[in-house]
Symmetry: C2
Subunit: 328 residues, 2 copies
Amino acid sequence: MRVGEKGEFGLIADLRRWLDPEAGGMIRGAGDDAAVFEARGGRRFAYTADAMVEGVHFDPAYTPWHALGYKALAVNLSDLAAMGGGGPSYALVVLGLREDIEVEALEEVYRGMRDCGAGFSCAVVGGDIVASPERMFISVSLVGALAGDGFLARDGARPGQAVAVTGTLGDSILGLKELMSGKGNDTHCARRHLYPEPRMREGRAALEAGASAAIDVSDGLLRDLGHICDESGVGARVLVEDIPISAEARRVARDMGLDPVEAAVAGGEDYELVVVADGEVMGRLAATCALSVIGEIVPGEGVELVDRGGRRVTVGGSGYEHFKETGG
Amino acid sequence: MRVGEKGEFGLIADLRRWLDPEAGGMIRGAGDDAAVFEARGGRRFAYTADAMVEGVHFDPAYTPWHALGYKALAVNLSDLAAMGGGGPSYALVVLGLREDIEVEALEEVYRGMRDCGAGFSCAVVGGDIVASPERMFISVSLVGALAGDGFLARDGARPGQAVAVTGTLGDSILGLKELMSGKGNDTHCARRHLYPEPRMREGRAALEAGASAAIDVSDGLLRDLGHICDESGVGARVLVEDIPISAEARRVARDMGLDPVEAAVAGGEDYELVVVADGEVMGRLAATCALSVIGEIVPGEGVELVDRGGRRVTVGGSGYEHFKETGG
């Protein structure tokens, strides 16, 4: 079977079988935002890697080079944030380069990475340059010390716990649509797409408060909360009216004839954190972090969107659609 | 100026200025085989990344998938070896995939990585999969604990010290030429090209014996020893007759009408270690490792090849050429 037939999630399931989860010092292997290993002496590290490919993850036509560097590092820092990691971290950058890229553009890429790292005690310390004739790519790896033994895994969610999200959702995909339609890169939503903010402080606070699980929103809320459900063996119910959507996202969606709820639950690349915790823990956490409680963990499997009337909601291309009463 | 005009070494010089060498915990930044950082508690780690791009670094027409995985990890382990690192290490793998690659091929790539890592306490613990429409790429990063505070840098060479190399040189480029000319992948030289052996034990032994500098041979002896000279502010003189060349490499070179000395000094990808040490240290090291002393560090700059008669030697496309008497 070919890669294109198998699809990303089928492949990832295969990869997990091909890795070595029993290796000495491994605390957490594949299947989370980052791997966790323990060095001799007991110190634990989160370790993650993410790549961006030209024409697949970014388009130089509307992605400033500085933003490319910033985002390439930010998406990795976001994985550390989702583990609750908050210590110093170190990044290596492998650049695949077309011959016709300007050296000044690369300097901007590095400036973007440094500008991102500076706020989070993250240093870009080296890497490799290789030729990549058709498409540029940027592959970043990041290793960061965990504060202690604990970390926020994906498999810790239990029925009855609350589900919350930092910030707002949907801005990034709507910003991408603005960028693609030539609206420039200085709108609120375009900036949110180009310069995602890794939620390092929130991840650390969630870990310290005693949260049970977390993930960052890269594939979209439904899919990413779905990963928590799959790994934890539970389901989740999300109240659609409680999903935080910015006024700007609502305006862009209206102007473009798009559904802001669909953008928020399926758009992805928001790099906000989804946090699962007992109600009491979530209450304490909400006192120090801007969080929106959007639902709860339930027995079963999968993520269900419901409205205040208890009706199940599904999102489609042109808006959301009520198709089933679930009572309540 | 464009990347293609600037060239690899010009770009690397730029990159070093764009990185942040003053970051907290950084012991060694760009300009060595690996970066070195120190975690809270004092433990030091070597951290490196290398990528291989289809059609640039490997050709699936003559590179078995298993060998691709093995080599992608081995070249990173070789960087740790050149730092003297020998503890457990952890690898992340980013795969850029064409849609038409067979899933079974990827399983072989991972099997090759596991087979390589198993011998060196290295575990492949995760990574990322991305689409790369035209060319597959494999980008590996590796973090490994150093045994203590020390490591083998490139800048420690001093005049009067001896220069030695592990194993034999030139096999890899001659093996590549065999592979490209359809001679199969089971010859001695082809296996050396496809399955380079990271010299972890030798690197560790060199560090423990008190060696002053090391590098692995990826670009070719002249260029890599040249990096040691540049970083240390010294020159080197290499005795051409003392360069270790295998009988198989000599036979392949003869059969193909190639110069085995040129293959040995300019071929690259041998992943042997060049070690610089005081004569006494080198003597002790040679008792436990298979090493060939090939020359000495001298004042000045650059690497000079000489023969036993003291004549300067230069290598060209069709063999080496004496062009200048240097006395002696």
